[in-house]
């Protein structure tokens, strides 16, 4: 196997509960500010959970001067287009007629989202008798706007992004629950290494901060119910943690061939150096207590990226703030890092921005790129009572200034899909990456 093509991160874009750009989000993360608040987007007063990390005061037209396009957008699509636009502007390059077929797009997209108003229309027309009557859909006042059909498609976001930015190469949309963003980034890295394209616009977007999405997580009992103290609700690795904080947003990265990026004088945030995916295959609802599954994904990502526990400096943890995830992830980290566990800095930026679900892995990849550029491991906010089971080197109190040679980003999804990514400082010499194991013989 020949050497792997090197991949550079040259552009970042974010729309998050902490801000409408990557710099705004990063500044808040470094300062340890929380994006949590009582939910304002709809009347959540009756729900067991009334707090969330919403994207606040977002006006799509300020980012995208295309009202027709915005008609086709559900909130996460608008977040995605805005973040993608920022990433391309940041990279200083965009697809042209000549290069469009050499651009790819890989996105982690959320579940089919039906706006509450549309469900109310269905209810009014079809459920008067207490049983679903399909004929009600044929009523004249049941809206069947083609736009609503378009935006409900699983690859609607992909279709909008590739059209708006003029991308004509390999394109894909993936969904592995909370690991979707990580899975999309990993796919993007592979697509570049395969030489299918020379640039990829890669990212994730999601918003489940609506009545149906919030209901789903409330029913599972996965969310923190600390309604009176929203900014303290997400406290990954704290002994008193009691569930995650639901967020929303989008993160996009421009990835390109390393040599090409250097040749055009692009600013390189970091090298996107490795990916590892595994299935826990444990239980649909539970994380494996001993970390089996996440361990393999982290180890593969590090081996793929030419990084050892000795040369890894920072881990952006999945760290959802549920009892089970954080315990399982720490068990895995201790196995993977071994004696280096005491040294390697670990933080979950979900402590500030909440869990962005299908966007999380992409936004956190961008966070790793910024952490490497600035030499700052962002703080794991709200850690007051350490959990003895989570005895890894968590960045407590305030963000830590430190040179980061390499960073690992973990995404561990519901159902057991684990996607781990490795990023390296651009000044680090290219690793002599070992070949992947090829077979058992």
């Amino acid at each position: 196997m020949s050497a792997k093509r090197r991949v550079a991160i040259t552009g970042l874009g974010m729309v998050t509960p902490l801000g409408h750009s990557a710099p705004a989000t990063w500044e808040a993360l470094v300062a340890g500010r929380s994006g949590a608040a009582p939910i304002r987007g709809f009347d959540a007063s009756g729900f067991p959970v009334r707090i969330g990390a919403e994207v606040k005061d977002f006006e799509p037209t300020r980012h995208l001067n295309d009202r027709r396009l915005l008609k086709f957008c559900l909130p996460p699509h608008a977040f995605a287009l805005a973040a993608a636009q920022e990433a391309l502007a940041d990279a200083g390059i965009r697809p042209t007629a000549a290069t469009s077929a050499r651009w790819g797009c890989a996105v982690g997209a959320g579940m089919l989202g039906i706006p509450f108003e549309e469900l109310r229309d269905t209810h009014r027309n079809c459920f008067a008798s207490g049983e679903f009557n399909p004929d009600g859909l044929l009523n004249e006042d049941f809206p069947t706007d083609p736009v609503a059909f378009c935006r409900s498609q699983s690859n609607a976001g992909l279709g909008l992004i590739t059209r708006y930015f003029g991308i004509r190469g390999y394109a894909t949309a993936v969904h592995t629950a909370c690991a979707s963003g990580g899975q999309a980034l990993g796919t993007a890295l592979r697509v570049l290494r395969r030489g299918l394209v020379d640039y990829v616009l890669a990212g994730g977007f999601d918003s489940m901060l609506n009545p149906i999405g919030l209901s789903g997580f409330c029913l599972l009992g996965a969310l923190s119910t600390d309604n009176d103290t929203p900014q303290r609700a997400s406290r990954p690795f704290d002994a008193t943690r009691n569930g995650f904080l639901l967020g929303e947003g989008a993160g996009f990265l421009v990835l390109e061939d390393w040599e090409q990026a250097r040749a055009r004088g692009a600013r390189i945030y970091a090298e996107f150096a490795g990916v590892g995916d595994s299935l826990s295959s444990y239980r649909i609802t539970d994380s494996p207590p001993n970390g089996d599954g996440p361990i393999q994904a982290m180890q593969q990502a590090m081996a793929d990226g030419g990084v050892t526990p000795e040369t890894l400096d920072y881990v952006n943890a999945h760290g959802t703030s549920t009892q089970m995830n954080d315990r399982s992830e720490c068990a895995a980290l201790k196995v993977v890092l071994g004696p280096e566990t005491a040294r390697v800095a670990v933080s979950s930026t979900k402590s500030c921005m909440g869990h962005l679900i299908s966007a999380a892995g992409a936004v956190e990849a961008a966070v790793c790129a910024l952490a490497i550029r600035d030499g700052i491991a962002p703080v794991n906010a709200n850690l007051e009572t350490p959990d003895p089971e989570c005895n890894v080197n968590i960045v407590r109190g305030q963000s830590r200034r430190m040179r980061i040679r390499a960073a690992l980003s973990n995404s561990l999804g519901f159902g057991g899909s684990n996607s781990c990514l490795v990023f390296r400082h651009p000044d680090e010499p290219p690793a002599a990456t070992p070949e992947r194991r090829t077979s058992c013989s």
Partner: protein, 430 residues
Amino acid sequence: MNTTTRIVFTGMGAVCAAGLTVDELWTRVVSGQSAIGPLRRWDASRWPVQVAAELTGVDNRTLVEDRKLHKSISRTDMLGIYAAGAAIKHSGLTAYRDAMKPEAVVHFNDRTGVFAGSGGGTYNSNYDFLPLLTEAKGELPAFGRELGNVVNPMWLLKNLPNNVLCHVGIRHGFKGVNACVTNQCVSGSQALAEAAWALREGEADRAVAVGHDTPIDAETILRYHRVGLLAPDTIRPFDAKRAGTVLGEGAAAVTIETLQEAQARGAQILGEYLGFGCVTEGSGILEIRPDGDGVARAIELALADARLQPADVGMIVAHGNGTQSSDASEALGIRRVFGTHPPPVTAFKWAFGHCIAASGMLDLVMALRALSERVVPAVATIETLDPACRPLPVFAHAQAPRSGIALVICRGFAGMNAALLVGEVPCVLD
């Protein structure tokens, strides 16, 4: 990157309106019987669309025996889990694993990938909230208060688009590299390609790839109809009188292994994976380019990936969904690559409907079967080839393939075009 790794198919499974096994599907196809029929899932007598390719008369326990699981998965998951299980059983992989020492089993499972192409969800998954809306009189505060009393606590998990991926992993113990593609029609095709790349790139020694979808849902059908995509009666690919597509439901799965691994364990070899190409036209969600740009580029990329020339291709399984614009542009794309004498062309959607995310994988298993039988099945519903689709050799009678290599084309929303090249068994033995 090691592109010389040869990858073979060692197991297949399929389910759709035409049957519960690959054999049943094949028999229906070559006998010219379409499984498209009257919509029966609800009383559609007042509906503008009254046909579909429904899987009927099958007990859920035939699909997934574990009744407890039925509460936490949806219909599409049931089909996907069933097809993947059938392919795995057919491959003999788990029987082979059973004879291994415990340490070898751990390694085997870590080196087995799972790749799913999922439809991503249907409108009716949200109908579980309708009784709650009644209870709450449509008001949000009451909706929130009564939530836990009315709705199944497992609702979210039941509707996760990646359920098949997770459950195939759990049921069969596979823990390797994985993906769940939710890219509408091309989901299954991309899942298979990702699986094959994982083998080429040394990330796995074997993998199961599955595509599954159940778009037969009242609201889905109505919305497809309102954007003008559905035919009133049947699918007539490339025919002058074609009037749209018909939705079907189903799943299909394969196991793939490196040739080396398959030969080492003495596996049956059903065909060879040769190459893949995939592009978007960047045309938006529904729009497609009239010139077949994406089709042609995807085929060219697949040929380059497989190091083959157009003349090497012995037969084409077209997407042929029966809509005006898709079939016409597909014909143009094929013509751009193959010129005026393309190899025999067939399509299968007339026989079991358009199963969206499952369609590419259903077409693939039928293509492998066609190669092994050395027959290009007839398209039973074609009468007059649309002049716009000339010179596509699509006929109402069976044809002979020109070689043991098949091209399978799959197209979807977001301007997606995928092309897959597979070979029959003797290719492998050359």
